[in-house]
Symmetry: C2
Subunit: 156 residues, 2 copies
């Protein structure tokens, strides 16, 4: 009888957590983690390309092409589920820099995403064609990053 | 003259850092961060697909197809620079679970990577064709994840 009560209490607890505030199951934090992972991979590949463009790393056509192709593929991924309502920096203080404007002005942010995808696709086409070609294509990618961050990301 | 000296000192400092111990610039940690980001995005997309396959989330053809396409694209990315020598769990204790066997048995790990890419590509072809098709394709992806982790990742 005692065991049954404990089991019931456990079931009630689980049901309560499931029905509780959205934050209880951590799905907003998981979404933040996923989009941060996506941004990390942008930064990783762009870092390589930027290093070559600035002359900090020697230009290598194959590596440049691979990094730019990565970036193009990453920017073209579906971000479904990564931006749920309530995952802004007001609701999740200290856990994200995503401004509420992402949601209040939606779909404006999608336009910025498209600009990045377009710039990355163009860069992927030319990044293997020499340092000058890389330099010529990387600027628009940087601009697209900056434009979105300026409007939709809180400063550190 | 003074300006020139400072510039020279700066140049020497940069050269020293570049030639210094590999760990000094944190590039191993950055590589670990990048591959962790890649794994996070695998998990994010696979989590969605697994949720549908298990019945925890309702099957949605478009979402399943998008998640599986994401996974296929992610597994096909170049991982150049992500696995530098010295970034195993012995050298970077507590910062990674990547076993030294990745490097001592190289290129065995690449075969595992190819298996995952193949399984993910097959899943992307069928994931939008109904729940049974999803269930039929997801098993091989899980097996490929597990096979690599078993051989090359330390337990938690």
């Amino acid at each position: 009888m005692r065991k049954v009560s404990f089991a019931l209490a456990g079931a009630v607890l689980v049901a309560t957590l499931a029905a509780g505030p959205v934050l209880a199951d951590g799905h907003l934090e998981k979404a933040v983690e996923a989009r941060n992972a996506q941004m990390s991979l942008y930064a990783w590949n762009l870092g390589m390309l930027g290093g070559m463009a600035k002359g900090a790393v020697e230009y290598d056509a194959d590596k440049a092409k691979a990094a730019a192709s990565n970036l193009a593929a990453l920017t073209a991924l579906s971000q479904q589920g990564m931006w749920p309502e309530g995952s802004d920096n007001f609701a999740l203080e200290g856990k994200t820099r995503a401004l509420p404007e992402i949601w209040t002005t939606y779909p404006a942010v999608s336009e910025k995403g498209k600009d990045l995808e377009t710039a990355a696709a163009r860069l992927a086409e030319v990044a293997g064609n020499g340092l000058d070609a890389l330099k010529g294509g990387i600027g628009d990618v940087g601009k697209a990053c900056g434009a979105c961050h300026k409007q939709f990301r809180a400063p550190k």
